[in-house]
């Protein structure tokens, strides 16, 4: 009876080691940011700049704004939420889940029609190009929870071709996945965010044409500090950083121009595109 089975012994040692390992959680000093997928590329540069200037790190999670909206409602521990559509921060505000007065609309999003370089489609036709019979798959973000998908559907409905093309849709979970569908050649054409079309990884691989902004309701992008954040000071610092002229310029390189009203408030001279 004295002799304990060596396998049982080994198991106990293993267990002890592993459970001691559990509390090794990451330090809470970094800022957890839920970012709309259209920021996938530009935020890599923004985060690097922010780190260089302040020494603070960003933990970025990209996804569809609608998905983040429901996650935050369920208590997701984000400090900041960058939404591709201001309606989600507004709804969070109504639910009392955000830090009052922190909604900041940082840009207006635009959609483009994007095709790979080897595509023979004539983009000068605008959205009507989607009626081309050679097209088998059209990549669109899921309109239920991705604002860019909703904008694409609205534009197609505005041009009265939605019913003719909807059977060819392949839906991305968010706008970055939508771009990946068409960038990889698995879809023939995609309706993606201008910010993704301008990103280095997409720019050289294809061409695009901007969908007239009057064809769909404006995509006002807004950032907000989450009420449950344990890191509000740093979150405010990052919001301030986003408003700095050189960050605004960096964002503009990726097609994120400040909404007109806001530009006027700041006395900025950024010309409308």
């Amino acid at each position: 009876m004295k002799r304990v089975n060596p396998i049982v012994q080994a198991a106990f040692v293993l267990l002890a080691c592993i459970y001691i390992w559990i509390p090794v959680q990451a330090a809470a000093a970094e800022l957890k940011v839920a970012a709309a997928a259209d920021l996938t590329f530009v935020f890599k540069d923004v985060a690097a700049q922010f780190e260089k200037q302040t020494g603070n790190q960003l933990k970025l999670t990209y996804g569809s704004s609608g998905n983040f909206f429901s996650q935050i409602q369920n208590g997701a521990p984000f400090d900041l939420f960058f939404s591709a559509d201001i309606s989600f921060p507004k709804k969070l505000e109504a639910a009392g889940l955000i830090e009052p007065g922190t909604i900041y609309d940082y840009a207006r999003g635009e959609i483009v029609i994007w095709v790979p370089n080897d595509s023979k489609l004539d983009l000068s036709k605008g959205l009507a190009v989607l009626l081309d019979p050679s097209i088998r798959k059209i990549a669109v973000a899921n309109p239920v929870h991705a604002p860019y998908g909703a904008a694409a559907v609205a534009a197609l409905q505005h041009d009265k071709i939605y019913d003719q093309v909807k059977s060819k849709f392949v839906m991305g979970e968010n706008i970055a996945q939508t771009a990946q569908f068409v960038q990889s050649g698995n879809a023939d054409v995609g309706i993606v965010a201008l910010s993704l079309a301008l990103a280095p990884a997409m720019k050289t691989k294809g061409r695009y044409v901007v969908v007239p902004p009057d064809d769909y309701p404006p995509l006002i992008q807004a950032a907000v500090i989450i009420k449950s954040s344990t890191n509000k000071e740093l979150a405010r610092q990052f919001l301030k950083f986003i408003k700095q002229p050189d960050t605004v310029a960096l964002m503009a390189q990726y097609g994120f121009t400040l909404p007109e009203a806001l530009a006027a408030d700041h006395g900025s001279t950024s010309a409308p595109h």
């Binding site: 959680q25 933990k59 970025l60």
Partner: protein
């Protein structure tokens, strides 16, 4: 390639498979030895995660753990933060998702142990616990190892449940399979390739070790098919 995601995944998988051993063993024992008429209900519940879509499972767990549920609120009162989108929440979700992978091989092994040996053990005055430790467990060791390794490997590759419950937060809930998904979306194909390769090699090595252990490949360390440790004296 994302090392923090790899370490996080390993940590998650180790915590899950060892915990699975602790809570899975009694369940497997009960399943193998109970004479309850309606045992098949319990068996179905244990096997459910095998057939349930991970998104359904993830959704249930998210609702059960979220800040609007009793469990979520209780945990929040206890620790100051919710369970959803935390490492602990991920552990709970993965425990449920990999339960059948741990319990089923163990239950199969336990029920193949010769009843005469178990009866003899208790006739000789051994307690139930001692009978388990000295008779049932050594004779079922290959099933236990298989359950351990399968729940480890399954947690390593779990995607849907982790995405629903964890919410993909780098360094906290972003496992390697989610990092790969993200890399593909961000058109980071080389990073996705590297991570996928690591995962592939790792899964292959883990499975090879399990199968080789069951086939007496490694001398004194191996586990015989009949269960007895080959390093043990013959008499």
């Amino acid at each position: 390639m994302d090392w923090s995601a790899i370490f996080l995944t390993l940590r998650l998988a180790l915590v899950v498979c060892t915990t699975e051993l602790i809570i899975g063993t009694p369940i497997a024992l009960w399943l193998s030895f109970t004479r309850w008429r309606y045992k098949f209900f319990a068996e179905s519940v244990v096997a459910l995660p095998l057939v349930l879509p991970p998104t359904v499972l993830g959704f249930f767990v998210l609702v059960a753990l979220g800040s609007n549920s009793p469990i979520g609120r209780w945990y929040q009162a206890l620790t100051g933060h919710g369970l959803a989108f935390t490492f602990e929440g991920l552990v709970i979700a993965s425990l449920i998702a990999s339960m059948p992978f741990a319990v089923q091989p163990m239950a199969a092994a336990f029920s193949q142990v010769d009843r005469n040996l178990i009866n003899a053990s208790s006739m000789l005055g051994a307690s139930r616990f001692r009978t388990f430790v000295r008779v049932i467990f050594p004779l079922s060791i290959s099933g236990v190892v298989t359950g351990f390794v399968l729940s480890f490997a399954h947690t390593l590759g779990e995607f849907g449940v982790v995405l629903m419950v964890g919410g993909n937060i780098p360094g906290v809930t972003e496992t390697i399979s989610i990092a790969i998904y993200d890399d593909v979306q961000a058109l980071n194909y080389s990073s996705a390739n590297h991570s996928a390769l690591v995962l592939l090699i790792f899964s292959f090595v883990v499975l090879s070790i399990t199968y080789s252990l069951n086939r007496r490949m490694w001398g004194p360390w191996s586990l015989r098919r009949d269960g007895a440790r080959s390093s043990a004296p013959a008499k």
